[in-house]
Amino acid sequence: MKTVDTKIRIGTATLKNPVIAASGCYNRGSEFGRVTDIQAYGAITIKSVTSQPRLGNAMPRVMPVPGGLLNAIGLQGPGIDYFLTNEAPNLASTPTAIIASVAGFSVREFADVAARMNGLANVVAIELDVSCPNVDREGECFAENAASIGAVVRAVKAVVTLPVIAKLTPNVTDLKPIACAAEEAGADALSLINAVRGMVIDTARTRPWLANGTGGLTGPAIRPIAVLAVWEVARAVRIPIIGMGGIETGRDALEFMFAGATAVSIGTANFRDPDVAAKINSALVDEASRRGFTSVSALTGLANPEFAGARVSA
């Protein structure tokens, strides 16, 4: 049996394998180390960091729903200053690569925070959370509009050397023009999808369950929505796609790879099965070797005849 190369490339960054921990579900990377080997991840995306400290939303912030979780954390976090002083140093010793997620409320904030992330030890790429459905912004969020996403990506690309990943929301009529705008603005990769907007009503208290009102739906419930997003966008852009949304098993991950993803991210599934990354990695290697491939990246786009991208192994 040939050995299978698991490495993949996101812009100029090389990950040892295509399985990534999703932002907001792995904090700064250490907690799950208490029960599993976090080295199984090719990279860990940290919880999005904002310019200013944020207390986040009031409680309740989460509610289990059928096949998923509804959350409205509200980007609780210490802000970039505290992050750089107190938390970034620990990232250097995380036993796998780090993707720094940045969230913001203006083009300039994105650029400022991203620039300060650039060059941190162990940080191999910057992901732009332009799609968080939880934060109450005036007007539409960046990711709903091709022009604003273009502006954010361009501003960040101008100030960083690391690869830039634009993370898009599925809450739009058509993802393709938005994805194309990010690509044209210079994004090195796309992450799809962020949480789907939703709500649970508390029928006992006759009000929305989450203090924030609306929340983001994640987990297996959204998997078909996410697979379709990857499949459609993979026909429209040439840059690599990091697919996510409800991946729990190796077969789920294969759906995304076959649809056109170069890598996959795992969020909510960690909350159920902390060993999920190792299982997915071995399923991907098994599938590649069963097909006689020498790299997992050869799996990308196999179910998508109009797949437009390249199969980017390292």
Binding site: P64, G67, I73
Partner: protein
Amino acid sequence: MLMARTSRWARNGTRNPSSEMSAVQLALETAVVTSRESVAPGFWRVALRSPRIARAAGPAQYVATDFPGPFAVRLPLGIWTVTDDEFSLLFREWGERTAQLSRVMPGMEISVIGPLGNRFDIPEAGTRATIVAGGIGIVPFWLLGKTLIEAGVKTRAIIGARTKSMLAGVDELRELGLAMEICTDDGSAGEKGSVIDILRAHGATDMLYGCGPPAMLRALCEHANAAGTMCQISMEETFGCSMGTCWGCVVPLRRGSAQATGYPKAKEEQRAHDFSRVCTDGTVYSAADVVW
């Protein structure tokens, strides 16, 4: 004697779980159901074989359970009783997950992570301790009661429920040899009234332990703080990850509380309080720290 204990707390706050817990065994394993019974209408007791968790468990610790069903996250449940190689759960049929768990049969397997969370502190022998439990808030008190008795702490328990049929777990608690007073809102068992009524009526104690619905816990903390009595409560929130990563389960603590060492380090002027993750920094908090 009491002073010594008090000063230890003053120094450490409630023990910091992050450092302590990583030293303790934390198991992620598949456990076999050894028994399952209904202890009251809608209340279930399920025992699981897991020597690692049974031996490591301390009072107020919980397990994050996973079993087949339309669920994306684990269900947190307190550890009720322990033997050398088994522990049990005592739970109410709340919603989908607890309903599903109530249908397990001996021989089935479920996945558990635990023991999670910090523990109640145990004072020195001779101290007078009072346990105050409301409803299913009785769960942490089998293991606490046992530990206190073994430590020579003079312990009594006030156990309340809405009505007689909701007094689940009382018999098993009584078998520990704990001095117990029972009350129900409707007087259908024990005294009529709330656990706080009984607590107020009875005399002084050195240490209070509480678990139950938020309104009860709040009243307990206010009573304890007013009386200057040491008090620890085990809190509950809806959990996402149960592992400290998602920030879904936070409670506000007064600024600077030792258990709110994590996020956010918001700018001073922004924070009226700090948030603490119940799943990892708790579930046990000092009455003095909690912001209601």
